[in-house]
Symmetry: C2
Subunit: 417 residues, 2 copies
Amino acid sequence: MGRLVMKFGGTSVANIERIRNVAQHVKREVDAGHDVAVVVSAMSGKTNELVAWATETSPLHDAREYDAIVASGEQVTSGLLAIALQALGIQARSWQGWQIPIQTSDAHASARITGIDGAELIKRFKERREVAVIAGFQGIHEGTGRITTLGRGGSDTSAVAIAAAIHADRCDIYTDVDGVYTTDPRVVPKAKRLEKVAFEEMLEMASLGAKVLQVRSVELGMVHNVPVFVRSSFDKPEDIDPHGTPPGTLICSEEEIMESQVVTGIAFSKDEAQISVRHIEDKPGIAAAIFGPLADASINVDMIVQNVSEDGKYTDLTFTVPASEYTRAKDTITRAKDKIGYKAMDSATDVAKVSVIGIGMRSHAGVAAQAFKALSERNINIRAITTSEIKFSLLIDAAYTELAVRTLHTLYGLDQA
Amino acid sequence: MGRLVMKFGGTSVANIERIRNVAQHVKREVDAGHDVAVVVSAMSGKTNELVAWATETSPLHDAREYDAIVASGEQVTSGLLAIALQALGIQARSWQGWQIPIQTSDAHASARITGIDGAELIKRFKERREVAVIAGFQGIHEGTGRITTLGRGGSDTSAVAIAAAIHADRCDIYTDVDGVYTTDPRVVPKAKRLEKVAFEEMLEMASLGAKVLQVRSVELGMVHNVPVFVRSSFDKPEDIDPHGTPPGTLICSEEEIMESQVVTGIAFSKDEAQISVRHIEDKPGIAAAIFGPLADASINVDMIVQNVSEDGKYTDLTFTVPASEYTRAKDTITRAKDKIGYKAMDSATDVAKVSVIGIGMRSHAGVAAQAFKALSERNINIRAITTSEIKFSLLIDAAYTELAVRTLHTLYGLDQA
């Protein structure tokens, strides 16, 4: 007997047949004796259709109206799933964000959840074992009484926030993959599903492009210590033993991972561009002169590498930006040339970032050194290096991305047996 | 300077181009200095799509979930129109039923409006001339906090109720026809648009099949004395003089119609069936014995004709039902034969009901007599007659429907010059 949040994304509720399949998943957990809150996204394609209408009406539209429009997608799914559950003889009702309410900031289209009162949902679990079917992605700003949305992928965040509010034992995220892998299986066929990942590791993986979960939902899970279980909605409900251990990946606090691997996963990103600014004065304020204009232009800078200068006078500085912002970034630096006072700028777009992530790194020395050696044996040149407590990232020529990822995957013992 | 409610149905907001057209209509009235509240339906086809999903999920679905699902259609339109208005430089915001709130009973899928607080909308008119764009068809039951809908055509009712709540001078119903006609122009090409119709007359016309307005909206207009103006949304906004008198029909109280016609319009319905029960005892309880079983079977009985018997002992009784319920009605009467104690039953499906409507009838004798004479001159047999204060209805052979309607239309001086 436990309390569970089950979250289903757009492809899992794409049509009535799929919604009925979701109802069977929910029934399985209810039959096993659990209190269940379900969080649903819009039927796949619906949000895009609604966004397109808003944009066609006016490209620069009021975000408050945009939110009222797009929130309707989740409203429909929540009602349909409630009906599908009732048809299976399960007590269920739909909840819109404003009905619970899920309170948020007034940053329309990218609001943050500020509070959820789970008392009524818990009361209904106790009194009549009622399943709560909650429209994800949406909330209400109580000051204005208007509908808000949390931004793309926001239903993951809704699910984890609801789980915290009702003190759920676990938040199950049903998705179109069966868990989090050590790296992209399309690049490394030997990639294996992780049984457990620490929140901190998942944060690094999610922000580095393992697009299984929205980053904010992982943050929220970490803050409120809600174990998040990523699993497949394509598993047949009747094949699953509710008392067994289904395939999936548990994202949880570090303490719950008995023997953490030194390295948990390898992430990579090819959409990178590198810009190096040569022969700049090594003095206070020089970094601000470079990154101030980039921030003003809303350009996301990722890696920044500056070495200690040999002569104490001049140095070089390298940074990376998303490939899509490469031209704007170069223009920005060129326009700021007089202020920065650099001698030359060189740049490259055919670069990739490979990151090695693992909580175990903290207590193991020489993890990065192994990588440098293995890559050099493959003649892969490392253009830049950055490190943090639980990861290190390497900038390399894009052509070597797959080779580098496979080499590191084998090196750190991640290959499937 | 006045206050106006403008209501647009599904075909008027069918796509973004049509929504932009609606915005131009609204702009015209705002520019003329009016306070404006707009009530919108779902984009045409959307409600049907949502209803079909609910039914596909479960034919016998929870009406509360049905309401949450279908109310989303109006939510989308209200947001899109608010955006379209803002793009024209007009201050506007969308309102869902629960935001105003539009309070209703908890009769889900056919709720009745119980109260609307117009204070906030009026405050915004005064403070910032903000146009209120209101999702029609929907409300909230405050006891449960759940979304309700008013039943098909409910947006008309929303519009008139909002008009009453904000003390509007007029409620404009934009539709795909340019007003209410003396009869169906497809049958009588000389039918003309009525400038004004009394609420009572419109009630008779609406319930008799002139499907321009939902009956409940006319009742509401009558109770709260809100003039309702039926006009076309296909008129080009730029061609309309906001200070002039646009084409349309004003539905208003009798007092505002200076010289009322004796006859205002001719309604007709071909979907009728007639059942006559012959040689029944003329005694108390006999009508109950016939209509009790029909009511139990939820069969709508319309006309009922019973004449005074000649001998004080036996009489005949005739009634009509919708053609779709003919077989069930006959079966019901046959099963009750012993209780009723009739000698014979005869029936016909090829019958039509023609109704002549006019407030002026009250003060003019012999209006019906003129009809009897004119129809007999055309050899049209009258099978049954019923009368009320402001209308009389004739049951005739269906084959003569068009001829009868045209004859009466000319007789009462309704033909276009």
